[in-house]
């Protein structure tokens, strides 16, 4: 593997990894504030991709496509929270898994009904020739994905550290009862978490669709990649979600080069099983999921 290949696989790994990191982060935000692992998170990403592709197909300018996509998944997540999660606050873990699976099934069915079974395409954010570095080809979309993800991570860090809404979320992640005792409106925090996670899924879907195209059946795969990334980094830790996502992307990219691309999907799955069994706290070492 020469310098050219090393750079090439690093770029494609970081591109995919950024998307995984975003999904993992959105799962983490929901899990920390509500205690629910949202199995329908990948369907939010899928819906975002289809919405973006449709708007683009109607000649909407790219900037407006991005805003509408993000707004629509944020709204979708809020509706999902109000209709299905909020009414059953004391549900068992198994009931929560079933309900979020049910939401995933509903969203997949709606997507199939509205958009059909063919993949929809979306143009990259900016046109123009690819760039070259050490002989490796770097598409403009890859740069956009990596740059936007980096900016988002910084923005989220500031949100959690510097704003009252972010601080309230952190308090809820620490202990919901305690947060409620000091006067924090838990319901408001929870719905904020869903909106934020929906927006993140929207951004992920908008960014990845020009690379992979959008298809109704891809939701559960996104969820699974998000799980793998979150578990790899340490479930429940935002920093872990980012590290896990990027690492998973790189693993898949270099792994796909070493083995064959058909078995590429196995890498994230085997990584997930191994990390859960051998080091359940993940890389940053969070408390173990029960």
């Amino acid at each position: 593997m020469g310098a050219r290949d090393l750079v090439q696989y690093a770029v494609s790994g970081l591109t995919l990894g950024s998307i995984y990191a975003m999904i993992a982060l959105s799962l983490t935000i929901i899990y920390n504030t509500t205690g629910v692992v949202n199995f329908a998170q990948g369907q939010f990403v899928m819906v975002a991709g289809l919405v973006a592709a449709t708007l683009f197909g109607h000649g909407v300018p790219m900037f407006a496509v991005a805003l509408c996509t993000i707004a629509s998944t944020a709204a979708l997540a809020a509706v999902v929270y109000v209709v299905t999660v909020a009414p059953i606050p004391r549900a068992t873990m198994f009931a929560n898994i079933l309900v979020t699976l049910g939401i995933g099934i509903v969203l997949t069915n709606i997507a199939q009904q509205s958009w059909g079974t063919e993949a929809k395409v979306l143009a990259p954010i900016t046109k123009g020739p690819a760039m070259h570095l050490f002989g490796a080809t770097i598409t403009r979309q890859a740069l956009w994905i990596i740059a936007i993800t980096a900016c988002l991570m910084i923005a989220l860090h500031l949100f959690f550290r510097r704003t009252r809404a972010g601080q309230k979320m952190l308090a809820c992640a620490e202990t919901r009862e305690g947060a409620s005792l000091v006067g924090i409106n838990i319901s408001l925090v929870k719905i904020t978490a869903y909106v934020l996670a929906g927006a993140l899924a929207g951004i992920a879907g908008f960014l990845i669709t020009p690379v992979t195209s959008a298809l109704f059946s891809t939701g559960i795969t996104f969820t699974l990649k998000g799980f793998s990334a979150a578990a790899l980094g340490g479930f429940g830790s935002p920093v872990g979600a980012i590290i896990g996502g990027l690492l998973l992307g790189l693993l898949e990219s270099y792994g796909g080069a070493l083995f064959s691309t058909g078995y590429q999907d196995l890498i994230s799955l085997v990584a997930l099983v191994l990390i859960l069994m051998l080091h359940p706290g993940g890389i940053v070492g969070t408390r173990v999921l029960a």
């Binding site: 309900v99 069915n109 578990a231 799955l269 997930l272 099983v273 999921l289 029960a290």
Partner: protein
């Protein structure tokens, strides 16, 4: 006593069905329902009694299907034998996998088993022997002597019979010492260990039993549809089997039966009456049951039965008092 009468009545109805329903389509729906019920009954022991979640059932189902189909195709062994081998292969895989994977609990276990199911799917898709999405075709039907189970009515009777056997086996396991040990495990792992139950071995055993039921169901499917490809064994299948138990109720094998009937019949019924909105309605229906019905459909049935029984008791009580 009433339980036995109900059981005999249900079996009689089940046997009579193919002679009343002549529609090939509805018979195939009932065959699928029986197959799902067989795979889901293993999950009753695993979820309902032992309290362990698994999304891996689709992986074992696929393993049973491919092992049985491949042996029947390449070695020409009788299908009876290959089905048993398929089920045993899935059970053994479950036993071996159980030791490492069942160290995990709750959500970690759900994710790890989900990953296992997806790993199996990728293998079915990529390995040269399973022929990926091209698939295996001309899988032979089972036969006794010259009597082949090659039409829907005969095959229905076969899978219904197997489902009845698996049902009673599940009931027997629940009522045995093993079943009590499983419920102790489901109640509290530490308490179960403290009364001398070998928790790890027990978990692996129940995982093996549930994997075996899935493998058997998969084998029954392969020799019915005569063509299998990797597309049929995706994550959707594992999720479907969890949905069967979730919708039917996870504490009694009858829950698996009700759930299997629900997922096999309701979507077909809806698509007949609602066309375009059927899939959506079905999904919404599932979500509503998951949200509001505790213990699934079987819980709903139990509650209705006990309300009616209480009503009858109240009426008879009043009648006898008025006579005095």
């Amino acid at each position: 006593m009433t339980g036995r009468i109900v059981a005999v009545a249900v079996i009689c109805i089940g046997v009579a069905v193919p002679f009343v329903i002549s529609s090939e389509f509805w018979l195939s729906i009932l065959i699928f329902a029986s197959i799902y019920a067989i795979a889901a009954m293993g999950l009753i022991l695993l979820f309902g009694d032992a309290g362990q979640i698994s999304f891996g059932q689709g992986g074992f189902y696929g393993l049973g299907a491919y092992v049985s189909a491949l042996i029947a195709l390449h070695l020409n062994w009788p299908v009876w034998a290959t089905m048993v081998i398929g089920a045993v292969a899935a059970g053994s895989a479950g036993f071996l996998l159980g030791f490492p994977i069942l160290k995990l609990r709750g959500l970690s276990l759900a994710m790890a088993t989900l990953a296992f199911a997806q790993i199996m799917f990728v293998l079915f898709r990529q390995l040269s022997i399973t022929q990926g999405s091209l698939g295996l075709s001309a899988i032979p039907a089972p036969s006794i002597g010259r009597f082949a189970f090659d039409d829907s009515r005969r095959y229905y009777l076969l899978v219904f019979g197997v489902a009845v056997v698996v049902y009673f086996l599940t009931r027997n396991i629940q009522n045995s010492g093993l079943g009590r040990a499983l419920r102790a495990l489901g109640g509290s792992e530490i308490a179960a260990a403290s009364v001398g139950i070998d928790v790890r071995l027990l978990k692996s055993r129940v995982f093996a039993v549930s994997a075996m039921s899935a493998g058997l169901a998969g084998a029954l499917l392969a020799h019915y549809v005569t063509y299998i490809s990797s597309d049929g064994f995706s994550l959707d299948l594992s999720i479907l089997l969890v949905v069967v138990v979730g919708i039917g109720g996870m504490h009694r094998p009858l829950g698996a039966v009700l759930g299997a009937l629900f997922v096999a019949i309701v979507p077909q019924y809806l698509s007949g009456s609602l066309q375009g909105y059927s899939a959506l309605t079905y999904g919404v229906l599932l979500t509503l049951v998951f949200m509001w019905v505790r213990n699934g459909l079987i819980g709903l049935v139990d509650a209705t039965v006990s309300t009616i029984a209480a009503g009858i008791r109240a009426v008879t009580h009043r009648l006898t008092r008025s006579q005095v």
